[in-house]
Symmetry: C2
Subunit: 191 residues, 2 copies
DNA sequence: CGTCTATTTGAATGTACTCAAAAGCGGTGG
DNA sequence: CCACCGCTTTTGAGTACATTCAAATAGACG
């Protein structure tokens, strides 16, 4: 199985590349194998990579002043992950990214990202659609956080992301839902 | 003051258009004046327009099954507003959009949006950046909703959007923050 | 096997909501 | 111009949802 097959297939859903463009693009990617429970980005460090997840599972989170963790997102195969704001604006990261499982990723540096968009403007379209989907997904999350109580949010989460729900700890789910692990445990007992 | 001056200036921050391209683009826009407290999009109706706000103030919100309103966003001059998911996917709207003040907007239909992106691919870049900013803003909102209590969210809101805070009712702010108007009133008394 | 972390359980507490009623405020018609 | 109407805001009591803290139990991993 060629390592770039999956990423090219994902891109082909939105834009059509010539063979040369495909090669140029894959030439900008750096393949990495990362063991379970490894932090690949820490708060305060430069966030220079956008990671396409080829296999495995990762999580991004932030810490508040009291040390409380909030999970920003989980990412499985075929998702893209970074601290988007800091990647795009070349700011020190405000978040942490860690592997949940042994994972393989294809990294696109910010330098190569800019280069790619200049060299093959079609990629503007691809990333426009990527950002669009991320935006609408995140907007829905905002609204659900405001309108639903913890139990309803939990139910939606496990229905929407059954595979994630199976692979992460309850503590991590709680931190995604914005509740304490104790309260999530209480919710689960009730059901 | 030419009606298209502001929108072209906003676009010029991200992409450079020729005079002909500018004319082509503005030719796709429909100028509308909308009085205060007018609903321009209602849930269940086709969401065919992306509105650039030339002047005034608007609000998008949704209703849950109990009739509770949640404000999705406020939008002032130089913002873009629609039910993005439904606009892009040509689905019936899940939200309402109404004017808070007398407003003027420039509407871009979904048909013209698609046409624009085909005719002038540079606009892919513009909308990529627009979506990018919307995404990172919305992600920050999600996290703040999870980590901050109502009082902290209120304080951040009035600091971040002082002009909006001055122009909308407390009830509307409460529905943006995901709290009841009664509780917002209580918070304000304390400070 | 031992250690470390995740999960469960329960009591006490805090945050935010519901419901009801009163007060304030803005727009409209007489 | 003012009185009335409808909506917003305030206030308070009672309640529900969710947290904190502490301690016990269960699981994962070397």
């Amino acid at each position: 199985m060629e390592i770039h097959h999956a990423i090219l297939k994902t891109i082909a859903k939105h834009i059509t590349l010539t063979r040369e463009e495909e090669d140029f693009f894959t030439g900008l990617l750096v393949y990495k194998e990362i063991p379970k429970k490894t932090t690949l980005l820490a708060e305060g460090h430069p966030c220079t990579q956008l990671s396409y997840i080829h296999s495995g599972a990762l999580r991004s989170y932030c810490l508040d002043e009291k040390g409380k963790e909030s999970t920003i997102m989980f990412a499985m195969s075929d998702w893209w992950l970074t601290d988007m704001y800091c990647y795009l604006n070349e700011q020190p990261s405000m978040t942490f990214i860690e592997t949940i499982e042994d994972s393989t990723v294809l990294n696109l540096s910010k330098f190569n990202f800019d280069h790619l968009l200049t060299a093959i403007p079609k990629f503007e379209r691809f990333f426009r659609i990527l950002m669009q989907n991320a935006y609408t997904r995140e907007q829905l999350r905002s609204i659900e956080n405001l309108t639903l109580n913890a139990e309803e949010r939990y139910t939606r989460f496990i229905n929407k992301y059954p595979q994630i729900a199976r692979n992460v700890t309850q503590k991590q789910i709680a931190s995604y839902l914005g509740i304490t692990p104790e309260f999530l445990s209480f919710i689960r007992k009730k059901r």
